[in-house]
């Protein structure tokens, strides 16, 4: 069944159950992936998946939901029945409606749908990449985590009010994590991930080069003394922190009491005036961009922090109604509609005179810690409390030398971190989760075992 046929099928089945109001979200995908081990194919995977989530409103305007992978006529009828039963337990305390923007025009740009190259081609490319990475340095002994995949999918939203949205996309991903070993030293590991609309868009050579240079740069390592340090966050690590505390911008989290912000926080000063943060799901560099969210609301660019002050929250239909504003295109379809950011963009604002511009990661000669990548976010972040304690990969720059840091954590508080930003470099870098320049923060605690 294609998406139009599914819509017709749901409409018919809903009529027979006397359900006047419904909507659904669906996704259909075909995925192919390969992994290799020392030149040999290890696992080759293909999958065909379909997921349908149906919501219905009962006579009391309470919402019930069901999710299924069975998109046959009987599956759809069963899903509607289950959703109808679940609606008896719908949330009486918070109404859910269709998004008022579900029929607004959507902006579909940068859609580059590629054709599949096939498993054999994926395997050949990954084998070659593994060989090149192994040959790039004598200490690189294996590439234990590797994969090349391509995915082709369609996302759909439709409702009983006549809204219908659909888009198709393709996406490819390559990851290479190398392991280096030297005598009388601990093994060291690092890697690189690259995304593209298709395999032909992925810069395989640069992925190999990044994985190799990162891994090798950690070979000479040392413990770090526990203390407070001047920190330079890489674009990737700064985006990791911002995403981990995105509940600050999230209206759903505010209503649920798990955000550091409250309804009256708009305008609150969080940081140096030099900091701007946007959510820009439609950014041309966002390979995973979606033109609409789970409720059919168009995706758009939204300013979250403007010159250091909280500017906007991200919303679903229901949170927007409660906050007396409009949905922002950040909803995820569910019994309880979730809200989450799409693609964070960090930049330096015009009001940047208070920044210490001498702090540049490529030229600064004083002592600082460079945090390349933060790990174990799920374990080390207390978003509702604002605190974090996270292991990281990085280097200590001291006396003109750079040495990899062994087994350390950086700890602090997000409000403290934002207030202690001392420089935002000019050049932005594209990562897999957004765009950011290098960001410098003073006086953060690092625990090492030196």
């Amino acid at each position: 069944m294609n998406s139009k046929e599914i819509t017709t099928q749901i409409s018919k089945a809903a009529d027979s159950l006397n359900l006047k109001k419904w909507d659904y979200g669906a996704s259909f995908s075909n995925d192919y992936s390969v992994q290799v081990d020392k030149g040999e194919a290890k696992q080759l995977k293909a999958s065909q998946k379909q997921i349908l989530t149906i919501r219905v409103w009962n006579e009391s305007n309470l919402v019930g939901i069901t999710t299924t992978s069975d998109i046959s006529q009987s599956g759809i009828e069963k899903a509607l029945n289950q959703a109808n039963i679940a609606s008896d337990f719908g949330n009486k305390n918070e109404r859910t409606e269709f998004s008022p923007l579900a029929k607004d025009p959507i902006e579909v740009k940068y859609t580059k749908k590629r054709k599949p190259v096939g498993i054999k081609k994926l395997l050949t490319l990954l084998r070659e990449a593994e060989v090149k990475l192994l040959e790039s340095h004598e200490s690189i002994k294996s590439v234990p985590y590797n994969g090349l995949s391509e995915s082709f999918y369609e996302r759909v939203y439709a409702n009983s009010d006549g809204a219908f949205r659909s888009y198709t996309k393709s996406q490819a991903a390559l990851y290479l994590y190398a392991r280096a070993e030297e005598n009388n030293k601990k093994p060291r590991s690092s890697g690189s991930v690259k995304l593209g609309y298709g395999v032909e868009d992925i810069d395989i050579e640069s992925c190999i080069k990044d994985a190799s240079s990162k891994t090798i740069s950690h070979l000479n390592y040392s413990s770090i003394k526990t203390d407070k340090y001047l920190i330079c966050f890489s674009p990737e690590s700064f985006l990791t922190i911002i995403n981990a505390f995105s509940s600050m911008f999230n209206a759903r989290s505010i209503l649920d009491g798990v955000s550091l912000s409250n309804k009256n926080s708009i305008g609150q000063k969080l940081s140096t005036e030099a900091l701007n943060i946007y959510d820009d799901g439609l950014h041309e560099k966002n390979i995973s961009s979606s033109p609409f969210d789970g409720e059919g609301t168009p995706t758009k660019r939204l300013c979250l922090i403007n010159k250091g002050r909280l500017e906007n929250f991200i919303h679903s239909e229901s949170t927007a109604r409660i906050f007396k504003t409009i949905p922002t295109g950040h909803a995820g379809l569910g019994s309880k509609v979730s809200v989450s950011p799409d693609w964070i963009v960090v930049e330096k604002s015009d009001e940047n005179s208070d920044l210490k511009t001498s702090l540049d990661h490529s030229t600064y000669e004083g002592e600082f810690v460079y945090i390349e990548e933060l790990n174990a976010i799920h374990a080390g972040v207390r978003a509702s409390q604002g605190s974090f304690s996270l292991p990281f990969d990085g280097w200590l720059y001291k006396n003109g030398k750079k040495i990899s840091i062994e087994s350390a954590t950086v700890a602090g508080d997000i409000k403290y971190l934002l207030k202690n930003i001392v420089n935002i470099e000019t050049n932005q870098e594209v990562t897999t989760s957004g765009i950011s320049p290098h960001v410098w923060v003073d006086d953060l605690s690092i625990t090492g075992d030196a």
């Binding site: 696992q43 234990p144 954590t409």
Partner: protein, 473 residues
């Protein structure tokens, strides 16, 4: 297209599918596969969320699908699909064969499926015995009400989820198995706040194959425990970082062994060359006080199974005996690629993942000391009463958040501390577990890895680690 296949041409749960399964396996073997495995599932899940004094989410879901794995030599091709018709399954076999680029003419012998091992017989009634949404909702609301013990509690949540999974497993070695799995979990969470101070508390409980378990759950005790934890931590200072001895509490304290050592004893890690224990069988890798077990047979525990996802009954595997490494956790691919015998540990989240060697109920065995013995032996250190999550890096370094910690001074528990993280490497920490308590207890959890998220149990008695890096501020 809408399904228009006749019943005999598709998998029907609760019926005999032997002829169809054999036909598909014959097809794969005939095309040159060394081994063909078919895993088919039908799920019926439900979850309920209570926030403050309201039910805010009821989410039923159901689905079906198949995962087909073909081996040729040591490599495998895996295809998953939602199409359970004969045509759909055969197409998946063809796709897997094509991926593997099989060109030789050697045809393995398939003698047909063995007698059906049906583990469902006593389990078919479970779906009618589990609590109804109405019953669950009522108890969750009573639970969240129990959390409202003072005005510092600003957020109260109770959540329940039930996963009922019916599986059929058939493979070219004759394996033909059906099973029904039931998992239920219930959890409570609070956030407490007073001026600039904030804390949180959470506990999760879980069972397998016990339809009545939610009714027996002592929500009052759970609520008191979560409330006390959040109150104890509300005004806690941040811990000072450094190297120190620690005592890890029982139950979920076992997550450290699970993450830091257990994963390194899975054959997938040998395949990748990422475990320091690869060539250490029958060598000492831990303190002699440590005996560690992984098993899938303890009735009702979250990681227990009647049969694994490759059709093998789980065994009790003594991984470490008195500090000596005795066994790895292995699945079919692990046995093929590393030579370690299967342990009934081939597990996957669902049909869309190929099975891999995964832990089940994993714990350090009890020792002879009391909890007080351990704490009394430390002049300055940290007591980790409740652990959060953690992770292990590609080189074996681990880190874990301590949710509820207390300083130990002169053999006594003193003030609560927050923000602690335990950092180390299994190879270095395992020999430093010098004392094990006599109070082994287990706790449920979810483990995410190569074959998705699976239900597990972690556990240990109270244990003392002589020295570990504690991250703080």
């Amino acid at each position: 297209m809408l399904s228009s296949q006749t019943k005999s041409n598709e998998i029907v749960f609760g019926s005999c599918n032997k002829d169809l399964l054999e036909e598909i396996i014959f097809y794969g073997i005939g095309l040159g596969a060394d081994f063909v495995e078919i895993f088919i599932e039908n799920t019926n899940n439900s979850s309920v969320l209570a926030e403050e004094d309201f039910i805010t989410s009821v989410s039923p879901s159901f689905g079906r699908g198949a995962g087909i794995r073909i081996f040729k030599g040591k490599k495998d091709g895996f295809v998953s699909t939602n199409d359970l018709t004969k045509h759909g399954l055969m197409r998946s076999v063809s796709q897997a064969i094509e991926m593997l680029d099989i060109t030789d003419n050697k045809i393995e012998v398939f003698k047909g499926l063995n007698k059906h091992r049906d583990y469902c017989l006593s389990k078919k009634k479970w779906i009618n015995e589990v609590p109804s949404i109405h019953e669950i909702s009522e108890k969750l609301l009573v639970s969240t009400k129990s959390l409202k013990k003072n005005n510092k509690i600003i957020t109260r949540k109770g959540s329940y989820s039930r996963n009922l999974q019916e599986v059929i497993i058939a493979s070219s070695d004759g394996t033909y198995v059906s099973d029904i799995r039931l998992h239920q979990t219930v959890g409570l969470n609070v956030i407490a706040s007073d001026a600039q101070y904030r804390s949180s508390g959470s506990r999760r409980f879980g069972s397998s194959g016990m339809p009545n378990e939610f009714r027996l759950w002592d929500h009052e005790k759970a609520a008191n425990d979560v409330f006390e934890s959040s109150m104890n931590m509300l005004y806690a200072d941040y811990v000072d970082a450094g190297q120190m001895p620690v005592v890890l509490a029982n139950k979920f304290g076992g997550v450290i062994f699970h993450e830091a050592c257990g994963h390194l004893l899975e054959t997938t890690q040998i395949e990748r060359g990422t475990t320091p224990f690869e060539n250490k069988l029958n060598e000492k890798i831990a303190h002699e006080s440590v005996t560690a077990i992984d098993e899938g047979i303890s009735e009702g525990y979250f990681g227990s199974l009647s049969v694994d996802d490759e059709g093998m009954e789980p065994e009790k595997s003594v991984l470490i005996k008195d500090g000596i490494l005795k066994k790895f956790i292995s699945d079919r691919a692990g046995e093929l690629r590393t030579g370690h015998k299967r342990t009934g540990s081939g597990r996957r989240q669902n049909y869309s993942f190929a099975a891999a060697s995964r832990m089940r109920n994993t714990y350090i065995a009890k020792g002879e000391h009391s909890k007080e013995d351990l704490i009394n032996s430390i002049s300055e250190g940290l007591y980790c009463k409740s652990m959060g999550g953690g992770s292990v890096g590609a080189t074996g370094q681990f880190n874990f958040a301590v949710e509820e910690g207390y300083l130990i001074k002169n053999g006594k528990l003193t003030s609560p501390v927050k923000g602690a993280t335990l950092i180390g490497e299994a190879k270095e920490v395992m020999p430093k577990i010098s004392m094990c308590g006599n109070d082994l207890e287990l706790a449920p959890g979810f483990c995410g890895s190569i074959s998705g998220s699976v239900n597990v149990t972690v556990g240990q008695p109270h244990i003392k680690v002589d020295s570990i890096t504690v991250g703080g501020r």
